[in-house]
Every structure is written in structure tokens, then in C-alpha cells.
Symmetry: C2
């Protein structure tokens, strides 16, 4: 076991030894090697920490190495540790390989005792400084090393202050300050049963051990659990010469970002606290001052004005570090008598806005290339740029928190009844639909309202999926509220609050917050850099990104978000909308061909209008429409009033219809009579669909590239028959309109495992495959989405499954089937176009999978299109890099 | 186009030209080549028939060939066609490549006219014979060639008979017979608008064409449709010298089997009719006489006694033909004045019993080898030997017909209520459970009763699956009955019949018949040859055949049927039996560990007793037990009385339990919380199971080879955890009993596609894979068995799917997944044991698939074990033959 020294342009370690030396240690090595002023010191690697946990009696070889390190520091600083005349003081700092900000401990001013404090005073900074440092040391040592409750010393201090009438320690006369330190020491000895050691080496050993132990402090353990960091790593410890931010008026301590972490603006951003030490600046004990003039308001003087030379030094150091690390740095520094000393550098966390701007700016500054810029921006962060958010400055009353199911923020009036929601929304009101959970019958309402709030359901519940697909803001699973739909109100857990229908609410689908009243929201306004970056992403990616769009509005949104066309238009709503559902029911209940024709004739113009509007919005791009995939079960009703209307229309007794309803509802819709199974057994349904879309195509000048998707294909013969029927229908429409025959691609939605196995025989009768990962997950796992709730939480908590397969694509099982299908399909038809859609498409690894599997396109909900565009580019870059590494 | 002549030891065709010459033609060629006496003749191939349908004006080349054939016959018979002095008469017979018995037409005595009839008379057989032959010719020609209604001539005949007072034609004076023929001819000319041609060649042409046309007779078309024979084949036509079974007292015509088609006994079996012609013997016009003395009763004289030399000739011919064809032959012959002439030979249809005996006997006679014997017996036929059947001789009143869901025949009293069924069955009554359809709650009743009858459901409905598994006789989908369970009766469609509870019924699960009253049944008594054959099958097969057995009774049955052990013991009944279900419910509803333990403690001894009894019955063989695979849904109840009892036991309000019931029932059981998902989240359930089976194992001296099957495995980690837990549990039980640790194999039931994809990672933690084709079919197709009823009939009728995948294994999809899993599993663990079970295992192609895929075993319901044993041997033979052909 050895230590790694650093200081004055040299270092025994390097910047890439993060695993060994921790982030802080590695950063100090890097800065020292760059010639940036760092207080000299040395780092004990994390392996020593692990050894300490194995046996707290560390071998003497460790302390021999520590002595070597001390000698190194003594030589560079010209002081000696424990020397009563010119004492060297050191800080003992934690620093793990993974950033755990503020979770572990630091001990400053180690080396002070009743003798060296006088030596320190004599070295020119005076007694007040020396005893103030001693006071801080005793406070820290007591709390961190001896693990005393801070209130013990706070009590002593308060007594002394009360006795003297001083407002704070700085206000104490010097003798009283010295007295305070002595009173502290007596109190410590009383409480701990032993005094603070006077031997500096004993102090050092104990401080190092205490910092090791802080790895296992409760808050650190909790933090690791939350962030999935293994407990066994341990922390490195850096022992470093003290520099004093509390030495005098031209001393201070502070933190700095090399660029603004909120906006990405390229200038120093940060704060400093004059005459202060350690982490006081981040502890919020006193009001810190801004570094840059641009951030100075309220009469505060920025460092840029107070000490222009120091500011310039800091800026220069920042630029050198950015050039070295190629990224924005988050710095800790101390200014000792006008001299800048760097204590830490690390990659800065930043807002989505800053992330995008910095990435683009740095390409301009030739610090990184475009690929690197694309890798710098996490796709999920884009969500924050393209959706409105609750104004961070606004007054807010949060009444509950659910799951951030679909991003954005909206205010509107709570409505509990779906029909009322539609009515009020159509009347121009902004409405938030509040339900215990939603069902397919709520489609029209979800589409009409501004936002959806449910008390139950997860990130992939019906409400969440539909809302994401529509780009509606949505919060699901808000278990804080109890919804009483009949009474039209909800109550809030633990609060005597009843929210009646019509109450103004705000929901934040990015955070999951539910707020009372109308709260100001900030509109989405992606910065200019966003558009630059997305342009680069589009150039780089090969995967085509299309949008899911069920309405003309969706088409416009998807295209505005950069979709290359519509990859999946679901047509279920065209049958379930309140103004259509009656005709649909007549169709289903009709006993004869004539009554069915009648119902279809009424549907045709409505559907044609839907398609026409969509085709116009698509303006010449691809529009892929999926034929109806609605379980028969969802097309019937047992509502007496509705059944009565159907009965009158069909001149059939209600009893007969009710019997049929029960018959149909008796069986399971998911694995039942749906998709093309319904299309084959009720041929009129697909007939009216194909006719409506072909007529719309001709009406709009056949400019879009129409594709027809056959859902739920299980057998080759299904595809053969429907393909033939669709083609005939298309030809007939063209002939009737006296138009040229129009070309329509016809493909299969691959959503059951059998279709994957049969891909080799399906490919010749399909122009494309569209993999539907929702149903493919259900059938591959034999797990229904709704049922999953009964055991999936247990599975995830206990790591029986690594992730929820309805959110993150199961690459091994479901992905394995997709790979198999692509291979088999392309083996017989090398140019077979393959695409993917489903809830998992919003998850960047799904995009990576799609690229790796050689898919041609994915289709995503309109608002996640940018995420997919960026993720696709990143996947391409990652693949290129991996290939380069393999070949190298 | 040519004809193929035969006769007197020579032939232009051969026995293998069935496709060209039809079965009859090819048989005649074969017999002629063997030197067996056949009336000389020639065959027009089926291609001429097809040409005739393309253009009825056949080219003259055809008739030139017919002339060549006639010359050949004339030369051999020393008579000339149309010669007034020594006329040759011919028969014109149909004969297609596929046997269509009695479906097409034959014209005899072609060549007779007003002149040749006198020549025939002068040749020595007399005028009566000649005119009787002429009469027959006119009758046939009128009906078959001129297509007159037979009633027209029957009217003439009845007039003449009435006029003379004769009882039948044989009783007419000769002049009156001559007059009848003339009257016939006048009537034909009137009715047809033209006379029967006097020109023999014109007769022949017209007769050939008429026989061609009979290929398209309505009954022939229907027969082909029912038997899946293509319409385009057409029939060959054989023109053959007449021989006369009506020539005198030592003439006759008959049919013979070379062995008894009912028992397989090796002696001539058949009938003959003296002084008769053509098919009179099979038409049942007169009472035929037996061929063999053994079949003579009621004072009938057998041919064996009446004409021993002729009988000996026939027997010799039969043996020669058996030796030639290597199989039992079905013969048609005519004896003309003591001379045997063979008219047809073909492979004989036979009963299951005969099939088995003949196959075994022929090996003894060195006619075929053992492999061939095994290939001769169709596995499905074994069912008839091992199940009782309704006595064919018994008086029967069939009131409905359903699907033959589980073979056998039983009588018992109709009971509609499952609980009552259990009670009455336990009281010793024979009961037939009658339900609209069954559900899992009826398990106990199905197990208790003698038979099950349902009005709805297919071959794979719940009732069918459970009954087959238990070996209970079952008829499902009997749509002729309407069951009113509440009233406790059913009505029969179209009959004013109400069957009340307690009425005696008989159901035949082999035919699907439902009969009123107690009908005598014949017990299953497989003949000795059966055991010989099954012994050969066991020697030949490599696939191990195990039995499904849920109870000790099943174990005994399975072993008696030749199972090598128990491949699948389902344990659901141990939880659903009425005496257990209460404890199970307490377990499910219990809120705390303590209450759960309490419930489990009560279950343990009952389950241990179940296992003990099974292990004793298994007598040292393998017993593979599947841990509980019951959806949580099926373990709860909403019955107020039952809930009340649980509520009292748990001291919990009924409301709370009802809420929980609703919660659980709200979701879908099939794709939900079941199998090992339940075992992981409710660990106590598997714990009690493993403990009970291990204790039973130790109690019975650890003689059986215990295997534990984990159901519904989807993730590797499920198997890892459960394997660990099961092993720990087993160790603990052994330790507690102070016994040696016992070895238990632990394997996975592979029933969802994901498990197949993950086989490579599952194999290291599984001692075996057991593929469950029921659930694998559901998940691969995305089709629920119950829902399938909504569209599967349409799919099968329209050939969208070739077969019901719940009955016949879908080798492409489901089979593809199984192949993939076996490959991946064995790639990492070459000795991985793989087996298969499911409803499809009763279907021989599934056994062939299992052999081809290299599976080690299958597990079948007890009563289908013999079918599987034989099918496995046959699959092995077929593979060996195919391999030989490939290498040759």
C-alpha cells in the first residue's frame, strides 16, 4: 500500500486514476501536473479504506507511506508537521471514485495544538487567525473524529457569547476566543472521556480513520442505495497542506463553474465567501458573493470587481482545465492572501439548456467534435426543453406527487366525468381529467383535455400510454389522492382537503407534482443551440425516426418535432369517438349484411375526412396506417340506454343484444378476437377503412406515401388474404374514381412470437415488418400489463428482473425474437424494411437496440421524436467507436 | 393414350401402377402376372377419363386401343365381340387410384343384343341363362348409361309379375322372361327417346363414357369431399371378359378376406351368393352364405363344405396374394361352373383388434418384419383396445352427438351440481356430470364422477383436457342439448325430451354419442398380440414415455399402460379439493405470517399423504411433480358463505376479504400472477409443497426418483432463487429427520417464449426442461384457448390455419421455439434432459416431432400412454428409413 504525492507541477498519480484515488485525488494530480497551483499533499488510495474496514489496525507500512507524504509536503511548504515554530497544518479530505457530494467528512487544520497554535500566530497572521483556526479544528475534531453531538460545543459557545454579549464568534475579544477554545477542550474531554490529542501525528491517524468511517455514515449508505453505488468501493483520502481562506480580508473560499450551469453561457459562474474556510460557502451560513459581475445584483460586489487579478487567474485556470478535460468544470478554490489555490475540479452538472449550449459551443471552440457533442447531451434531458414546465419561481402548493407519466405542465379545471370533460374542452375550457384510472372508453376525453391525473396506474398504465402517445401532460399513480368519480371530487391523504369538480389544478408531468390552483408555467423554448445539435443528430443517424400520430394535430406536432413521417397511425379512435361509436355498434350487432352496409355507409365520410386532414398535414411524407386493432369486446356495450338506441336502429330486441354483449364480454380481449382476426371475420370493417383512406389519398392528390399495417399477424395466410383484399379494394377505388392505380405498401405488425418464428415465410408477402413491442412483451413473458402490477414490483425490488419490460425493452427475450425475425425475413428478402414501435421506444437503449439490429426506422410518440433522433445519432457514434476499437 | 391388357399369366401393367390404372386395374395386372385366374381384359387409364371430361368426344386413337384390347380378350377367350354365334360379353368397371367403395358404376354383360343373346344361349348354358343375362344388361344400361329412373323398368317388371302371378323374375316362364326383356326395351325407348343400341361397340363406348361420368355422381363427389380426395384425378376403367356367377348351381359370386377383419384370425372370411352376378352379394338382395365353416351358423352351408375344392383354390389364391402384397387382402371373385375367377384384390380394412393380431401373426409367418408390423398399426386405433366401448349389438337410443373428447363408454346417473356429483359418487353411485361447460372449480367433481358431458366447449375445452388427463370418459360440445343447471335438467333439441337429474345416461367418448338409459358396454380387453406388439414398440423406441398422474390411481393406470414413470404430477387439486380449499383461502387472505403458517400447518399432513400414496404406487420409478401453478384468481372466492367462514377463521371483516377478492379477480389469470411468480411472492406455498413431498419421500424409503418442476419460468433469476430455496428446504427436511441428504432434480417448465429464448442461460440452473405446449401455444399465437372459439372455426374452415394448434402441435411456430430452446440449452449443457407435455402429446405427429427434435421424453395422460409408445417406435422406424434412403 502506497500513497500518491502531488504539488508544484508534479504528481505521482494521473487524472485517469479515478478508481484508485477517487475523483478528488485524481483531479488534484491532474491540476498539479498542469502546473495549476494546488496545496501540496498526498492521497491514500481507496484500497487503504477497504483494508481499514477489514482490520482497523492498519499496518505500519501505511503510516510509513504517510510519513513519506508528509515529508514531501514539508519540503515543498518549508514547514514541518508539529513544529512549534513553523507548523505545517493539513486538511484530511474524503473523495470516492463516484461523486457523493457532501455525504462524507473532511477535517481541517490538523496539526494544531496548544503549542503549534502559537507558532501559527507567530508566522505573521496573528493570534486571532490562529485561535480562530484552532477553534474550528476543535469543533470539527469533536464532531467528526470523536463523534460528539455538535450541540455539546454549541452550548459552550452560546454560554460564552451570552456572557460577553457578542453576536457571533467573530465578535469575541481575542482573550475570550482563546478562553472559548480552552472551554471547548474541557467539554470535549468531559463528553468523550479523553482529550483531543496534542500529538499532531495521532490527530492525523485518527482523522484519516474518521474520514474512512464516514463512508459508512447513514446518509452515505442511503445515498449509495438510491444511486445504485456498490458499498464495497470505499473512499480515497487526501491529506493536503492547509491554505487559509480565513487569513485576512484578501482571503476567501469559493466554488466556481467554468460556464454557467443553468444557461451554458461561457463565463465563470459561482460564489465566494471572504474570510472563510472549508465548505462554509456551500453550507449557507453566510451570504456568499458572486464571482462575475453579470451575476451581481442587490448591491453585492463580484470578485471580478473586488479583485480583478484574482478573478482573471481563476478564469485562466478554468480555461486550462476545460481545455484539458474537454468539459465544463465545477471547481473549489481558496484564495489565501490574494493567491489562488485550487482544491478540487470535477465535471460540472448542468441543466438541459446548458448541456445543449455547452456541447454546441465547445464544437465552435474546437474543444470537442460534433460526435462528442452529441454524446454529451443525454436524450432524456431534451424533454425539459420541449415541454412547458412549472415556473420554478412561482408560489406553489403541492398537494400530491405521482409518477411523471407524460412530460409538460398544464393548469386547468378538474373534471371527473369523461363526457363532461369532452364537452367542456370543446367549449374552450382548459380541463384536467381526474380519474382513479382510465380505460379505452376514455380515449376521446384524454384527447380533448389538457392533462390527465390518475390515482392508480404506473408509467405504462393506460392513461400514461395514451397521454404520452398524444403528447398530453399526465401524472399517474398519485396515491396521495382518493378519487370519488360519482361525487365528482377527490380528497387528499392526510389533509382535510376536498377538491371539487371545477377546482383549478396544475399538474407537472415532468416531476409528477400535483399543485392546487393555477401555477405559472414556463413555455417550452428550446435554445438556438438545440436546433444546431438536432441538425447534427439528423446528419449522423441512419435510423429513420417517424412519429406516431392518430390525428392531424399529432401529424403536425410530430413533423414539428422532426419526424420524417407517420410510422404508426392507430385508427381505433375513429371507431370509439362518441360520434362514431353508435354506427360501430350497429355494425357489430347487426345480424345481416344489409344492416352492416348501412352502418358502414355512415362511417365512410367521417373516416375519409379524418384521413384527408391527416394526409394534408403530412404534406407528402410517409403515412403508415394500422387497420383496426380493437378487441370485439371493446366495441360492445352493456349500457341500457346505448343498447336501446342500437336496438331501435336494428329493430332487434334489447335482450338479444344484451345476450350478445355478454357472450362477447365473457372472453379475454387481449388474446382473443382482435387485430386481423377481426379483419378476416368481419371483412366489412377493413373494407370501409381501406376505402376511406384510398379515397382520401385520391382527394389529396396522392402525395403522401401511404402504407397499410395489418395488426396482430399470426399466420402467413392471414397476410396473404388481407393483402389480396386490400389490393383489390385499392384498385376498385381507383377504378371508380377513374384514377391511375396508386401504389400502397402493405406490411405486417409483428406482435406475437409466432410471427417472428414465421418471418421467413411472411417476408415474401410483406412490404415491411413493424415490430410492436407492447404486445410482443406481453406474449413473450406471458404477462399482461395490468396483471404485472401484482408481482412486477416484487420482481424489480428483488432483482428477479433487471427492469420493467414494459418500460425498458427486454433485449434478451423480446429483442431476441425481433433479431430472429429480422434475420429470417431478410434472409429471403434482403431489402425488407423493418421498424419498431411501442412504449419502450421512448427509452434510448431501445433505439440503440434498433440500430444494432439493423432496423430501418422506429416510430415514437410526437413529443419523444427529438429524444429518438438524438438517441439514434448517439447509437451510431457508439457503434462506430466500438467498431474502431475492435479493429484497432 | 393406350390401354393395358391382362390375362392368362401376362399383363401390360404392373401392381404398382395404381395411380395410372386405379386400384382395381393394378390388382388385376398383379394377379394375372402371378398366374392367378382372372377374366382377361384391359384397363383404360385414368388419364382417358380426364381427357373425356376435357372433351367428351374422345379421339379415335382411344377407340383403336380399345379395339386392340378387345382383340386380346377375343384371342384368349376364343370368342368374338358381337359375334352372333360365339359372342364375347364384357363388363365395364370403374376403379380409381383411391378406394371409393360402391361410389361409382359398373355395367355388366355388354355385347348382348337381340342376336348375340341367341348365340349365348346356343353356347351351352341355355336360353333361360341368356335371357336372364340380357334382362340384367337392359336394366343396368337403362339406369347407368341412359340414366333412367330404375322405377320405370321396375313398373314394367311388376306388371308382368302381377299378370303371371310369379313371385319374382326367377319364377317367370321362359317366354314371359323373353317378353319382359322386350317390354323393357320398348319402355326404355319411350322414356329415353332412343333404344338401347344393338351395336355392341356402340354399347361399349357408351358404357365406358357412363362409367367415366359416374366419377362425378353426386354421392361420389360427396364421398371425395368427406375424405379429402381431389376431384381432378378421374377413374380408370377396366373392360373385362364376363364370367358368369349365374351360369348354374355350381356358379356363384362372392367376397373374401384372407383373414378375419374383425379378429384377425388367419382363415378365409367372407360370403358368397350362388347363381348371382356382380355386386348382388354386397347389395343384400338375398342372404349370402358363409365361406368358412367356422362362420356358418343358423343352418347355412359354408362354401368350405359345399365345394371343398373350390374353397381350397380360393384359400390358395388368398395365401399367394398375401405373400405377394404382404398384407391381408379383400377379394371379389366369381365361380363359373366350379372355376374360380378373381375380379379384384385390395388391402383389407380391419378392426383395431384384427390390425394388431395380423401385424403380429405376419411377423410369425415371416411375411413382414417387426418394424413393418409396428408401421401397420395406427396408434390412434389402440384407443379402441384399451377403453370400454358401447356394445355394438346393444339396443341404443342416441339423443345427441358431441365431440369424442376422452375415449371410453360409461353409464351413470345425470347430475348437474358438482357438489352433489361428488357426494353421490363418494356414496358409491356411478354419476355422469352434465354441465354447460366446466371450470377449474369442477376439478373435484370431474375426478369423482364416471363421465362428463358438456353442451359447450371443444376438444381442448377445460372439461376435455381435465377428463383426458384423468382418463375419464367425456363428451364435450354436445350442442344438441340445453343444460339448465339451476333447474337440474337438460332438454334435447328437436325432441320433446327433458332429462331430469338422476336419469340414467350412457356416453361414448370414443364416438361422441350420448344415449338414453343404461347401454351395455364391452370392457377393454386387449388381445395377446397387443402386448407382443407393444413390447416390440418399447424395444424400438428411444423416446421415453412417461405418464401424467395427479393421483395414486393415475400412477397405477399410467404404469399399467406402460408408462416408465410419472412425467408430470399437477398439484392444483391438492389445493382445490373441497377439504383443502378452506385452508388455501385462509392462506391467500391472511394478512400476517402467523395466520399463513397456521393454514399451512393444516395443509401439510394432507399433502404428505397424497405424495406418500403416489410414491408407493410409483414403486421406484421417476415421479416429476410440478409446484403449484394456479392463478391467484382461482384461489379466492366471492361466495358469501365461504367468505364468511374464512372471515371467522381470520377474524377479519367479510368486507375486507370481498374487496381483496374483487381486486384479485379484476385481472386476467392466464397472463398474470401464477406459476413460479406466485411461488416467489407467496413463498409459503412452495415451502409446504416441498416439505410435504420430501417427508413423503423419506417416509416411503426414498425409492422413487423425485423431480421437481418449477412452472411458468420466465426469468433465469426465478429459477436461481427457487432452486436454492427448494434445495435448502430439502436439506432441512432431511436434517430434521436425521436422514442422508436426498438427491432431487429440479427443472423448469418452459411455457412462455421468453424462456425459450433464454434457454442458454437457463440450462445451467436446470436439471431438465419440460416444454408445456398448452401455454406455449397460447403465448406464441397470442390466442387464449377460450377466445379461440370466436374465430378459430372460421380459420380452420377457410384454411387460414392448417389445424387447431391446441390439438395438433404447431411445429413451425411453437415447435420452432422448442427446437431453439433445445439447441441453446444443449449448446451449454449437452446432457440437458428435455421433455414435452400438453394436450397435443396425444397426437402422433407431436411424438414424431419430439423424436426429430431429440427430446428425451414425453409425458402423456395415462390412457394415451400406449398410443405414445407406439407412435414413438414408428417415428424411430420412419427416421431410420428416411436416413437409409438419404444415404442410399
Amino acid at each position: 500500500m502506497r500513497v500518491y504525492t502531488f504539488g508544484e507541477g508534479a504528481a505521482e498519480g494521473t487524472a485517469d486514476m479515478v478508481e484508485v484515488l477517487g475523483g478528488k485525488g485524481a483531479g488534484l494530480m491532474a491540476m498539479s501536473l498542469l502546473g495549476i497551483p494546488v496545496p501540496p499533499g498526498f492521497t491514500l488510495p481507496a484500497s487503504v479504506c477497504r483494508a481499514y474496514f477489514a482490520d482497523p489496525a492498519l499496518p505500519e507500512t501505511v503510516w510509513a507511506e504517510v510519513e513519506r507524504g508528509l515529508s514531501h509536503v514539508e519540503a515543498l511548504r518549508g514547514r514541518r508537521f508539529g513544529d512549534p515554530a513553523r507548523p505545517l497544518l493539513v486538511s484530511v479530505r474524503s473523495g470516492a471514485a463516484v461523486s457523493m457530494p457532501g455525504m462524507m467528512d473532511t477535517v481541517l487544520n490538523v496539526g494544531l495544538n496548544d503549542e503549534t497554535v502559537r507558532g501559527l500566530a507567530d508566522m505573521g497572521s496573528g493570534r486571532r487567525f490562529a485561535f480562530d483556526s484552532y477553534r474550528r479544528f476543535v469543533e470539527m475534531y469533536a464532531e467528526i473524529v470523536l463523534e460528539l453531538d455538535p450541540s455539546a460545543l454549541a452550548g459552550v459557545r452560546d454560554e460564552v457569547l451570552a456572557m460577553t454579549g457578542a453576536r457571533n464568534v467573530a465578535g469575541l475579544e481575542l482573550p475570550l476566543l482563546e478562553g472559548l477554545v480552552m472551554a471547548y477542550q474541557r467539554r470535549v474531554e468531559q463528553a468523550a472521556g479523553r482529550p483531543i490529542p496534542q500529538d499532531p501525528r495521532e490527530q492525523l491517524r485518527e482523522a484519516v480513520a474518521a474520514v474512512f468511517r464516514s463512508w459508512n455514515a447513514r446518509r452515505a449508505v442511503r445515498f449509495r442505495r438510491e444511486h445504485g453505488i456498490p458499498d464495497g468501493l470505499g473512499t480515497a483520502v487526501t491529506v493536503q497542506s492547509m491554505v487559509f481562506g480565513n487569513l485576512g480580508p484578501d482571503s476567501s473560499t469559493g466554488v466556481a463553474f467554468t460556464r454557467c450551469p443553468n444557461t451554458g453561457e461561457p463565463r465563470l459562474f459561482g460564489e465566494y465567501l471572504p474570510v472563510a474556510q472549508g465548505e462554509e460557502v456551500v453550507r449557507g451560513i453566510a451570504t456568499p458573493l458572486p464571482l462575475s459581475r453579470a451575476d451581481a445584483d442587490g448591491g453585492l460586489v463580484a470578485l471580478e470587481d473586488a479583485a480583478p487579478a484574482v478573478y482573471a487567474d481563476l478564469a485562466t485556470i478554468g480555461r486550462r482545465l476545460e481545455a484539458h478535460f474537454g468539459d465544463v468544470q465545477d471547481l473549489e478554490f481558496t484564495i489565501e492572501a490574494g493567491q489562488v489555490w485550487m482544491l478540487q475540479t470535477r465535471t460540472a452538472r448542468r441543466s438541459a439548456r446548458a448541456e445543449v449550449r455547452v456541447a454546441v459551443d465547445m464544437v465552435g471552440e474546437a474543444l470537442i467534435d460534433r460526435d462528442e457533442a452529441l454524446l454529451r447531451v443525454h436524450p432524456a434531458k431534451l424533454q425539459r426543453l420541449i415541454h412547458p414546465s412549472v415556473d420554478a419561481e412561482a408560489r406553489r402548493r403541492v398537494i400530491g406527487r405521482g409518477l411523471p407519466a407524460s412530460p409538460g405542465a398544464v393548469s386547468g379545471r378538474a373534471v371527473f366525468d369523461p363526457d363532461e370533460a369532452v364537452r367542456r374542452a370543446h367549449a374552450g375550457e382548459r380541463v384536467i381529467l381526474v380519474r382513479t384510472e382510465t380505460s379505452p372508453e376514455d380515449m376521446a376525453a384524454i384527447q380533448a383535455v389538457a392533462g390527465v391525473l390518475t390515482a392508480r396506474g404506473g408509467m405504462t398504465s393506460h392513461a400514461a400510454l395514451v397521454a404520452r402517445g398524444l403528447g398530453r401532460c399526465c401524472v399517474t399513480g398519485c396515491s396521495d389522492i382518493f378519487v370519488d368519480e360519482r361525487a365528482g371530487r377527490f380528497t387528499v391523504r392526510g389533509q382535510s382537503l376536498v377538491v371539487e369538480a371545477g377546482t383549478l389544478l396544475t399538474i407537472d408531468g415532468t416531476s409528477g407534482d400535483v399543485l392546487l390552483g393555477e401555477v405559472a408555467t414556463t413555455p417550452a423554448e428550446p435554445p438556438p443551440a438545440y436546433h444546431v445539435l438536432m441538425g447534427w443528430a439528423d446528419e449522423r443517424r441512419r435510423l429513420r425516426v417517424l412519429g406516431n400520430a392518430d390525428h392531424a394535430d399529432d401529424v403536425r406536432t410530430a413533423l414539428a418535432q422532426g419526424a420524417e413521417g407517420v410510422g404508426l397511425c392507430r385508427t381505433e379512435h375513429m371507431f370509439l369517438d362518441p360520434d362514431r361509436v353508435h354506427a360501430v355498434r350497429e355494425l357489430v350487432y347487426a345480424a345481416d349484411e344489409h344492416a352492416r352496409r348501412d352502418a358502414l355507409d355512415r362511417m365512410l365520410p367521417l373516416q375519409r375526412a379524418d384521413y384527408t386532414e391527416m394526409f394534408e398535414a403530412a404534406a407528402g411524407r410517409t403515412v403508415a396506417i394500422r387497420l383496426l386493432d380493437l378487441p370485439l369486446k371493446d366495441m360492445v356495450t352493456s349500457d341500457p340506454a346505448e343498447l336501446g338506441a342500437v336496438a331501435r336502429a336494428l329493430s332487434t330486441p334489447v335482450d338479444v343484444l344484451l345476450h350478445r354483449t355478454k357472450q362477447i364480454q365473457a372472453t379475454n380481449s387481449l388474446l382473443g378476437h382482435r387485430g386481423c382476426r377481426l379483419g378476416l371475420t368481419f371483412p366489412e370493417v377493413y373494407e370501409v377503412q381501406v376505402r376511406a383512406m384510398l379515397e382520401a389519398l385520391l382527394d389529396t392528390g396522392t402525395r403522401v406515401n401511404l402504407q397499410i399495417i395489418v395488426p396482430m399477424v399470426t399466420a402467413v395466410e392471414e397476410m396473404v388474404r388481407l393483402r389480396r383484399r386490400i389490393s383489390h379494394m385499392a384498385e376498385r377505388v381507383c377504378r371508380q374514381r377513374d384514377a391511375e392505380p396508386c401504389h400502397v405498401d402493405i406490411g405486417a405488425m409483428i406482435e406475437v412470437p409466432r410471427a417472428c418464428l414465421l418471418a421467413g415465410r411472411l417476408a415474401p408477402v410483406c412490404d415491411f415488418f413493424l415490430f410492436g413491442t407492447n404486445d410482443l412483451t406481453i406474449t413473450s413473458f406471458g404477462v399482461n400489463r395490468d396483471d404485472a402490477g401484482r408481482f412486477l414490483p416484487f420482481y424489480l425490488e428483488n432483482e428477479v428482473l433487471p427492469a420493467d419490460p414494459f418500460v425498458h425493452l427486454d433485449e434478451e427475450g423480446v429483442g431476441g425474437l425481433i433479431r430472429l425475425a429480422v434475420e429470417r425475413g431478410r434472409a429471403v428478402r434482403p431489402d425488407l424494411v423493418c421498424g419498431l414501435t411501442g412504449a419502450q421506444v421512448c427509452d434510448p437503449p431501445t433505439i440503440e437496440f434498433s440500430c444494432a439490429t439493423g432496423l430501418d426506422f422506429i416510430s415514437a410518440p410526437p413529443h419523444t421524436v427529438p429524444v429518438a433522433r438524438l438517441a439514434a445519432a448517439r447509437a451510431e457514434i457508439a457503434r462506430a467507436r466500438a467498431a474502431k476499437e475492435t479493429s484497432a
